[in-house]
Symmetry: C2
Amino acid sequence: MAERKIYRKLVAVDDVLPTIEKYVPLEPLGEVEASLQEAVGRVLSRNVYAPTNYPPYTRSLVDGYAVISEDVAGAYEDRPKELKLVGTVKTGETVLLRIGRGECAGVSTGAVLPYPADAVVPVEYTHARPGVVEIYRSVAKGENVDPAGSDIAEGEVLAWRGDIVTPSLAALLAAVGVSRVHVFRPVRVGVVPTGNELREPGERLEYGQVYDSNSYLVYGVARMLGADARIYPRAPDVLEEVEEAIHRALGENDIVVTIGGTSAGEEDLVYRVLSSLDPGLIIHGVKQRPGRPLAVAVHGRKLVLGLPGFPLSCLLSINLYLAPLIAKLQGARAHESRYIEAVVPVPMRGDPGSRVFVPCVIVERGGNYTAFPLAGHSGRVSALHLVDGYLVIPESDESLPSGSRARVLVSPFWRPFEANVIGSHDPLLQEVVAGLRSRDRVRLVSTGSLAGLQAVKSGVADVAGTHLLDPETGEYNTPFLKSLGLEGVVLVRGYLREQGFVYREDSVSSFSEVIEKGLKFVNRNAGSGTRALIDHLLKAEAGRLGVGFEELRERLQGYTWEVKTHEAVAYLVARGVADVGVAIRYAAERYGLGFTPIGFERYDLVVRKDSLGKQAVRELLDGFCSEGRRRASETRGYAVDSAMCETLEF
Amino acid sequence: MAERKIYRKLVAVDDVLPTIEKYVPLEPLGEVEASLQEAVGRVLSRNVYAPTNYPPYTRSLVDGYAVISEDVAGAYEDRPKELKLVGTVKTGETVLLRIGRGECAGVSTGAVLPYPADAVVPVEYTHARPGVVEIYRSVAKGENVDPAGSDIAEGEVLAWRGDIVTPSLAALLAAVGVSRVHVFRPVRVGVVPTGNELREPGERLEYGQVYDSNSYLVYGVARMLGADARIYPRAPDVLEEVEEAIHRALGENDIVVTIGGTSAGEEDLVYRVLSSLDPGLIIHGVKQRPGRPLAVAVHGRKLVLGLPGFPLSCLLSINLYLAPLIAKLQGARAHESRYIEAVVPVPMRGDPGSRVFVPCVIVERGGNYTAFPLAGHSGRVSALHLVDGYLVIPESDESLPSGSRARVLVSPFWRPFEANVIGSHDPLLQEVVAGLRSRDRVRLVSTGSLAGLQAVKSGVADVAGTHLLDPETGEYNTPFLKSLGLEGVVLVRGYLREQGFVYREDSVSSFSEVIEKGLKFVNRNAGSGTRALIDHLLKAEAGRLGVGFEELRERLQGYTWEVKTHEAVAYLVARGVADVGVAIRYAAERYGLGFTPIGFERYDLVVRKDSLGKQAVRELLDGFCSEGRRRASETRGYAVDSAMCETLEF
């Protein structure tokens, strides 16, 4: 018990797994016998030897005539040899036919080679007459013959302990008659949600409560790694209940995961239970940021992991610790966290003594990856759907300068996107992307026009969709490229979209009406083209009414309620959560809403010049100018004019 | 019915899917509602909107004191502000606490922010006394506060139709209370094995029969793509039985797969059944090699695919056609076949008018991939476990010159290996590789010493293990590097291994004894170091006996029976399939066999110099010289001398 309770001493990131290994061997937990079908995707726990030869009998590799090669020596198109046909062997026939000198037998591909034939003449070099076959080509001894055992000899090692049973390996094993194999058994992972604030998705929330989401993160990763995973009912913040829940889960699993411990009371409870295990808490805190409050306890040969509660911290801890633990305990070879090298686009501050992990979006440019930090705090749950990995600032570094290279920890399921299309959402653009050959290499993120232009400028985005009106000039988009100082980009003129008020019942044609009727408005996010339009209209209306913009804005119920897409506006109005909004006609029609036109706006694409070499970007632009143009000309609420697909360089 | 029966007209590779699409829309088949847990890994069939805000209430982002920011303006270490403590809010509490001017309240991370507090001072910048808190830092309005709805607004589109439900997305959806989603339903794939020659793995084979293995290939790929797959019992070669089997499978599946049709009789049966469907056979033969005999039939909106029977052809057709069909019908975005670009290492012949696919092993060297063709005919089933992809020779090309670049179709599950270690098998080397951090990026292939050296020379291998004795000089390995003309390589001296006769019962110490006792010998493969030793001993013994080498060889029962590893020799002797063989002591002991020493041999590594920059290769060499040395000095049958890890340049 000397090693018990190494408490409140922070452990280095690289020491977490070795520390655990001092208490629990990180070796496969055991094996199970499985049919080939069940074994696909699992890891072999034993070497597999061939119980038979392959091919199991000497066979023909072609359709043709089995011959004794000496009998057809010198045969050629203009001097064929004639052989007597003594029979035919079809594939699957188990009779060993005999031929004599000067004789031959018809054979199908895969048929048993007659004895003592030593070659097969392909049917296209023969001409069969009744009882006789003319042979137009000589064959070498062994030609088109596949001798028994020539591919695999009985006893050969076909696969090693540790190999993954791929579909190909399963087929190989089947070919020599192996029907069952031994594989490492799946790890059992039990998630015990704790915390009075948690509710299950589907339950009703009180103000002050949140839905449990981290449990699904753990469950999903464990399942995708092939583990058996299970989410237990939430344990209330009572010592006995937490104790019982953790012990029950320990009885049924190899690894138990608890999450959070954000409230002081709860933290006490989970940690008191973990400390009471035998040998108990072995790690409590890691020299990293975020994710410092990791707790690891051992009970016999079982593990309890207490993961941090903020979504991006929880995901990080899963990638760093839980995923490798599951993989090792299942005997998987690919148990290491995956790192790539990436360029640091902006200076980043480290935390000497701790390893810092900066959530980031990974972008490929000129054969290099760049890791753009994700904005916002680690409590953001929406970032879960965007984060590609975590840029690593080593313990030794005060900071990483812009342009330097750093390691990035990527998620176990990360795949690089070739192109990022970030900006204003447009349903037709989405359909164009969905139809691309390269669509799984294109990431489409809706942030609004202005954020899209900024993303193109910084290099996160290859392409941005934008529809920003400059009220001074009445021009769309180009004035903003200039004022934002965008260089090295091309603007591709797009189609026109009809914007208007969307409503469920009462027709609305001005903001005054919305205010007078006391309707609930839903706004668009600042920086979006539609928001710019809304503010422009409000200012104009304020001018007409002789009141201030701020004043009018305050009278508009819901002005501060912002959503990021036309779809969301239409959805909220259709569901009755809001009464009116501003969106494109396409969204109104899709949700069966009323629509009062405000006017047409231009939806353009802005493309980085250094992205024009990317195949996915070229396909997207081609698709926009062909499929996009076609759809726009056929879809109500859209229009195409002669400017479409003109390009302007900046 | 005008389009019915486009029969015997070969279709171009790129026209296969478009032809199918004329008859059957390649769109998702339908949707099912699933819990978040069930939905992980599936594809959303509908957009998902946020039903609530996130965070659902305004909360603190830190442990500290909620304040009205104006009250702490100007607070600093040497001039703290004192606030009255009016209460504490823990996470999960649903009461909205109120504070007044000059007051504060303790809050945990995640707790509801009291009203009208607008900022939180972290606990580390405070000092609490009874009823009073000293604040040492000013905070800006909104600091450490996470306002309700600031991350996700109700109605926001969280994920789009077509998005994969990753663990992260599942967690994001859970966070806003979504508990069930609509996903595209899995495709049902039924495999109907046909052909009299087929037997199930586990059944007894007659001479002329083979085990069904392709069914497992189809099953495995379908399952790994998320489809529901099922292998039906084999249909015998009788029209009514094949007809019934296919119709039954059509009733229960979306896609039915039959394989083979190698025998003329069988082909007739399957094609007669496919032709009788409505509209029937729509493709019969594709302009490609291998894999020409693809058949596609349509019955209503269901598909029957007749795949070619040779393993590498079957795998190719699965990659080219079946996998994209499954993906499209499930609505997956990643439905395209994956191609990479690779260097062509030797001239390759095309087949103008047809697209040629050459099975290959992909090797990374200097940032480029090279696609080395796999030797042997397409009937080889062992190649299934090696093939990385298929190099594509376009329809227009007579040949591809050495050094040119070509596209390579890689398998849906292909991952690049960083290092190929090809050559003589050694159990300690295998353990060294298994212990490497980079072990999942290292491919270990046992081919024997000579083939390993040739693989290093051609560039397929980065490293080869070799133990080839030159009887003239008594030297190991170095004479062969010279005679094979290996340049740009380094030889790393390895450990010594004890070779000897291995046997089950009767002790054996010479080949004469094996022959006299009439024992069944199992030989090693030509080109292996052990085979060179065997032939060397046989020649010496023939000299002593005054007989020819050939003669002695013929008297040795089993000389022509070759396996590729020490493990296989020991396994066969232990099982009683053979009585005696030559292997290393390690293998004998592992299988509890008798062992008569012949002598020690040297097991060296040969490494390409241009591979020394690869991390996996460096780790392997480090491991060989540390872990390998340690194990060799501790393991009976191995020895280490002072030469170990000396290097010689060639």
